[in-house]
């Protein structure tokens, strides 16, 4: 699925342009998003397509580069003249691509731009197709910690975060709240993307020896960080990482050591929203029984959101149609596999993320209680 524009966008097809980080820092989640999009397209086409037209995805690889992602959308929109675009993965790239899409006046629903900067930029054509923005990802975990009895509650926290809007967004969203609640921050490390040498950071985390370790991570950095602290034999009582634990690769890379690791997720396989059951089922049959990952879900959600708008407005091509779609989404609520979504004028969704934890090697939802599929493990077993 690369940039050869031969996907002829006649009246019988709807061509959807997408740029994804299939290589580089974000490649694992990027691949997840691609699987989500492709499943959505497949299912739509089975149903006879959108407005009776076949859906075709035109996916480019931006190698996780901000400059490539812009060029990609420029090419997709002006060169390949796609009818619709879907967003890339991760805030950094959404941030970069939002402008070009906006300047071409197109609807921009994205699965992975959770960080606040994106919404502050104030694009009216952008919608984040997940329950909550980065700062709020840990809300449930925060509440839970606050309700713990004094003696069990962690009284020191160490943060290590990639210098990336999402990663920092999630980690610092929690940090602000905990500090306000008077829980001491004993270490706060930031590392640039592509860092591979974590022993130095780990040494300090080990030195600080906090009860709770919060990692603002994407994927590989989380794995490396964890191995590095293991080598220094640092055993926090609780550990929470963003994005990585929601990916199937995570437990493959670390084996049993993932037990008890927490993560925010925009998606729960168990949630009984309409269409979710079918989605879970389809993923299972495609990928030998595995439950959907968050990114697959958010991508699928994106598809659902756009689909709803297109079917309601009854058009899907460049030009004034796009504005109609945008306006419609601002007015309405859409049912998705992550629940009913509606957005404020800047495109912020207004529900909350779940908290996931690896229990017996499986990612389970542990918060909020009413959605929980397993009990919260208060003291993480040694890794």
């Amino acid at each position: 699925a690369c940039g050869d524009g031969d996907a002829e966008s006649g009246d019988d097809t709807i061509e959807i342009g997408i740029s994804l980080p299939l290589t580089g820092d974000f490649s694992e989640p990027g691949e997840g998003v691609r699987r989500g999009y492709e499943l959505w397209a497949e299912m739509v086409n089975e149903e006879g397509g959108l407005l009776g037209r076949r859906v075709e995805l035109n996916i480019l690889d931006d190698q996780s580069n901000a400059d490539r992602v812009v060029a990609d959308y420029e090419a997709l929109i002006s060169q390949d003249e796609v009818d619709l675009v879907f967003g890339p993965f991760s805030s950094r790239l959404v941030l970069a691509s939002a402008r070009v899409v906006d300047e071409y006046g197109m609807l921009f629903v994205e699965p992975a731009g959770a960080s606040e900067e994106i919404f502050e930029a104030g694009y009216d054509n952008l919608f984040y197709a997940a329950p909550a923005v980065a700062d709020d990802h840990y809300n449930y975990l925060f509440d839970y910690i606050m309700e713990m009895p004094e003696e069990e509650r962690p009284d020191s926290v160490a943060y290590a975060s990639m210098d990336d809007p999402l990663a920092q967004g999630t980690a610092y969203g929690l940090k602000d709240k905990l500090e306000e609640a008077g829980i001491e921050t004993v270490a706060d490390e930031v590392y640039p993307p592509n860092t591979t040498e974590f022993s130095g950071i780990a040494a300090q985390l080990a030195e600080a020896d906090a009860d709770l370790l919060v990692g603002g991570t994407q994927y590989q950095d989380a794995v490396n960080l964890i191995v590095a602290v293991q080598q220094l034999d640092y055993q926090p009582r609780m550990a929470a990482f963003s994005t990585a634990p929601t990916l199937p690769e995570f437990s493959e890379a670390l084996g049993d050591d993932v037990e008890g690791i927490l993560a925010p997720t925009g998606y729960s396989a168990a949630a009984d929203y309409p269409t979710n059951a079918e989605f879970v089922e389809r993923i299972a049959e495609r990928y030998d029984g595995r439950i959907p990952s968050e990114d697959e879900a958010n991508a699928f959600t994106t598809g659902q959101v756009v689909q709803a708008a297109v079917e309601a407005v009854g058009c899907a091509e460049q030009g004034e149609c796009q504005q109609k779609l945008i306006d419609w989404l601002h007015e309405n609520t859409v049912d998705t596999v992550v629940g009913p979504l509606s957005w404020d004028e800047a495109g912020r969704p207004d529900s909350a993320h779940f908290i996931q934890q690896h229990v017996d090697g499986e990612p389970e939802i542990v918060l909020p209680e009413d959605q929980a599929t397993a009990d919260f493990i208060d003291v993480k077993p040694e890794w």
Binding site: E197, G200, I201, A203, Q204, A206, N224, V227, Q231, L232
Partner: protein
């Protein structure tokens, strides 16, 4: 910083420094013996890393065993590269053009790696990946120790070959005055080829050692080029002991600076050292001074 953290940083610094030393040694070798600035050295390290990773994931055997294949392979590769590419450069413009040529080489390697293994980050997972033991309250990671030992062994044998065999001399003669070297009967082609081969062989070892405990991905080599270049200048271009010592020193300093400054700022120590060196002693601290006069 606390005593515990101090000792911990020191250990990490030394172990890392050993690895740097090996990597830089190869790099400075090319320059010392044939005035080639081998930008692609880091790329070959990554290549070796990938081969080790591939080897382990396929056979399930220990990555270190892959050396049995990669070291000879890289040696041959080195001889080949020198034969087919480097020889075509004019001696007058050797240094400059070799920079660009090896740069091209680096791009090709990176590209092919990405092409065959995709840009996804890889990490070798062995039984002892996160194993560690304690001395005086500080933790020593087993993998890091193994990597360190590999580096020391490789450096030792490198030193032996260059100092204790006539190859070393023939190499230097060849680069310094090719025509004269031929006229005293040195087979300049063969000799320079060996030099290059040895350089790449060190890359094989270094890359495997590196891959034992780090994630690898095709564009990783960019992160090594800078520090390694800095190291060989500080050590004195072409001086292998110089490179080794500079590497060890900077490795340790780097480890210590990480505590107060954090990962990124600490990285700048290499370049600060580089500029410092240029100001104080442009020819580097251990570098044999070039015989230039009017």
């Amino acid at each position: 910083m606390s005593g515990g953290l101090f000792l911990q940083s020191l250990i990490l610094g030394v172990l890392l420094g050993g690895l740097y030393a090996l990597m830089a040694a190869g790099l400075t070798l090319y320059f010392g013996v044939m005035r080639v600035v081998m930008i692609a050295h880091a790329a070959f390290l990554v290549l070796a890393g990938y081969l080790a990773w591939f080897f382990t994931t396929r056979t399930g055997l220990d990555p270190i065993l892959s050396l049995a294949v990669t070291v000879p392979a890289f040696f041959v590769l080195g001889v080949g590269i020198r034969r087919l590419l480097i020889t075509r450069l004019k001696p007058a413009t050797m240094t400059m053009m070799s920079v660009l040529l090896t740069f091209a080489l680096a791009l090709v390697i990176e590209g092919l790696l990405g092409f065959t293994f995709t840009g996804v980050q890889r990490r070798i997972r062995t039984g002892y990946s996160s194993a560690n033991f304690e001395i005086f309250g500080a933790q020593v990671a087993v993998v890091k120790l193994i990597a360190f030992v590999l580096a020391v062994v490789a450096l030792g044998s490198l030193w032996f070959v260059l100092k204790k065999t006539s190859l070393g001399q023939a190499l230097r003669a060849t680069i310094q005055h090719r025509e004269a070297a031929e006229l005293v009967g040195i087979d300049t082609d063969k000799v320079a080829g060996y030099g290059f081969g040895i350089g790449l062989a060190t890359a094989a070892v270094g890359g495997t050692a590196l891959a034992l405990d780090a994630t690898i991905y095709p564009s990783l080599h960019w992160h090594w080029i800078g520090p390694m270049m800095a190291i060989i200048v500080v050590g004195g271009l072409g001086s292998i002991p110089g490179a080794a010592m500079a590497a060890m020193a900077l490795g340790i300093i780097h480890a210590f600076l990480q505590v107060p400054l954090g990962a990124t700022w600490a990285q700048t120590v290499f370049y600060v050292a580089l500029f410092g060196t240029l100001m104080v002693r442009p020819q580097g601290f251990f570098g044999g001074r070039l015989a230039q006069r009017f």
